[in-house]
Amino acid sequence: MSSKPKVGVFKFASCDGCQLSLLAAEDELLTVAGKIDIAYFLEATSHIDEGPYDIALVEGSITTPTDAKRIRDIRQRSKFLITIGACATAGGIQALRNWADHDEFVRAVYARPEYIDSLATSTPIAEHVPVDFELRGCPINRHQLVEVIVSLVAGRKPKTPSHSVCLDCKRRGTVCITIAQGVPCLGPVTQSGCGAICPAYDRGCYGCFGPAKQCNTGSLCQQFLADGTPAPELVQLFRNYNGYAPEFRHESERLAELHPEDS
């Protein structure tokens, strides 16, 4: 890649938190900014360059017809397209509408639903255009974001770990919250990246970084059910920020089917 790659940061349906992570990398911000040409980053700069871009960082999910078109246009103008965060890689918390009546949702929030033009689903970017690299997390880990930018500038593949949160707890020396307190924890099936913070704060993991590679959600749920956690609670545990990621989606749908009387 040329010495000063052009980077664009684009937002779809999201909370701004993942792009904020770039501004939250206080120690690295000015150094990284010196190595790249920030060509499009509405939250940070009024300087707008229409591209083409070497790297597009995309935050947010696709929830409107306009956005479905806009992402295709950004893809055409970008060499590498990186999705950042749970919304862009899995649809985000707003993907809960995928299991609900969207029109009823809109009517519940807006007095004039006819002013609202949104899709019945919230879908990840990869369902619309080819994605070169996905950065997980709700929010993403800023060190991983810096790693992705720095490695692309250096012309190598970004390295982010794919093991589970469970392993990070062992490394941290955190006592297992499921074993010690009987609290359902998604650590065994969730990808590393957050630093295994929830169990270190006396609560179960709720899956911010989405499914870990080859996760065995079925076996984990069997244990939780045997321990007395009701199925509807487990359905909700899988259906949050990464609920529409395939592994979590299939598990919550399987549970809902197995236990229809509880759902």
Binding site: T45, I93, Q94, V109, C138, R203
Partner: protein, 432 residues
């Protein structure tokens, strides 16, 4: 027949979330000003229904990555009201400490990277850093302190994981919090320097007869509780918020716009409203600096909100230091409670202003109704009214320059569009 003109800002920059500005003129007469909000709706109030009430602080945090603590604080207080939970004084202080972290982080970001560049003629804070390295680096360090506090107490800076209905999942150990003290001592002095610098900027001569609204608490600068109070002298218990303040759905916005009273009028929330209504309850150093820089209250110049943010950064450092220095880990992390059917509301002060939440829950502990009124949707009409008043003074044939001036005014409100959607794009159209 006079020519119609349109001034448009397709996408506002250096604001959180996506919106624009649209102005339609006939000759020099302003026909229409719209703060357009095309942030896609995420339908939080609908998706919260049927969720466990314990999940609400985690879910509502996702409304905004810049002020998640505001959503967490407002939701837990509202749910505690619904369940009749009384929190302990220790938990109350730790919640103020958490809010101090968010005020520092959010204000330092807005002041240095988003708004100061307007006053000094740069496209971004990063550009500005080339000529003002000390100011920007100092600002980034302040921002980092805010984040560090959120990380220790909240588990992480964006979408903290440690806020629970009834208190916290785990309270920090003494040896986790106290190492922050030296940085916060440095930060307090640095915040004073920052505020002096902000006060030295050139402010447009523009004031308006604002109705400003914030919480007021008898003993403290408002964060988590207080009476909803207007600079007109009127005040309301939070439980009466919805009978005084109304939300309306307009075609050009996916955020609902707020107004108050009858006839329905716009009002101004945020740091300027808070300082105007609570100056005497600012921390000692913040009050001294306000006096030293000659910050007159009531201040009715919206551009000076950047100075009010500086004063609040000082306050947040000083209050945080007080809590850190006297910290003893509380006996209990969170108050136990039973589920019951009920409803409750709460208002707190987000960095951008008053935020209101109301929930209804059932006996099984599930949410049956959620209502959330973020600060920016309350300011949206006020911003449009400000622009109507300001435009004639700055209107030239150079539409790009006019649009830049408009954006600078919009940024005084630190609009958070992600939040307000259930919210912003400048388009100026001239008819005629």
């Amino acid at each position: 027949m006079t020519q119609e003109r349109l001034i448009k800002v397709e996408a506002l920059t250096r604001v959180e979330g996506e919106g624009g500005l649209f102005v339609r003129l006939v000759g020099d007469r302003i026909e229409d000003v719209q703060l357009t909000i095309f942030e896609p709706p995420r339908l939080f109030e609908a998706l919260l229904r049927g969720r466990k009430l314990e999940e609400v602080p985690d879910i509502t945090a996702r409304i905004c990555g810049i002020c998640p603590v505001a959503y967490q604080m407002s939701s837990v207080h509202a749910l505690e009201a619904a369940l009749d939970i009384e929190i302990t004084e220790d938990i109350r202080r730790l919640r103020r400490l958490l809010y101090c972290g968010e005020w520092i982080e959010s204000h330092a970001l807005h002041v240095h990277l988003l708004h100061a560049p307007d006053f000094l003629g740069y496209d971004s804070g990063i550009e500005m850093a080339k000529d003002f390295p000390n100011e920007v680096n100092r600002g980034l360090r302040l921002k980092k302190h805010g984040n560090q506090l959120l990380e220790v107490l909240g588990g992480r800076a964006i979408h903290p994981i440690n806020v629970a209905v009834g208190g916290f999942y785990r309270t920090p150990r003494h040896d986790e919090l106290t190492p922050l003290i030296p940085d916060f001592e440095w930060g307090l002095l640095a915040a004073v320097e920052t505020t002096r610098w902000l006060a030295s900027l050139n402010f447009p001569d523009f004031t308006r007869a604002y109705d400003m609204v914030s919480l007021v608490h008898p003993d403290e600068y408002p964060m988590n509780e207080g009476r909803v109070t207007s600079t007109t002298g009127a005040s309301w218990d939070v439980r009466d918020y919805e009978s005084e303040f109304h939300e309306e759905h307009v075609a050009h916005s996916t955020a609902l716009q707020s107004s108050r009273g009858a006839p329905q009028a716009c009002y101004h929330v945020g740091p300027l409203a808070r300082v105007n209504l609570n100056r005497e309850r600012l921390s000692l150093t913040a009050r001294r600096v306000a006096d030293e820089i000659g910050f007159e209250t009531p201040c009715l110049n919206p551009f000076r909100a950047i100075v009010a943010r500086g004063l609040e950064i000082i306050h947040a450092y000083e209050e945080a230091l007080d809590i850190l220095r006297t910290y003893r880990p509380p006996a209990i992390a969170r108050v136990k409670y039973d589920h019951r059917a009920g409803q409750g509301c709460a208002a707190t002060e987000a960095p951008r202003g008053l935020i209101y939440h109301r929930y209804e829950v059932d006996a099984a502990g599930l949410v049956t109704l959620a209502k959330i009124v973020p600060p920016t949707s309350q300011n949206q009409r006020q911003i449009e009214e400000d622009l109507r008043d300001y435009l004639p003074r700055i209107l030239t044939d150079d539409e790009a320059a006019t649009a830049r001036q408009c954006e600078k005014l919009v940024r005084c409100y630190d609009p958070c569009i992600s939040c307000s959607t259930h919210f912003l794009k400048l388009t100026v159209q001239r008819d005629g």
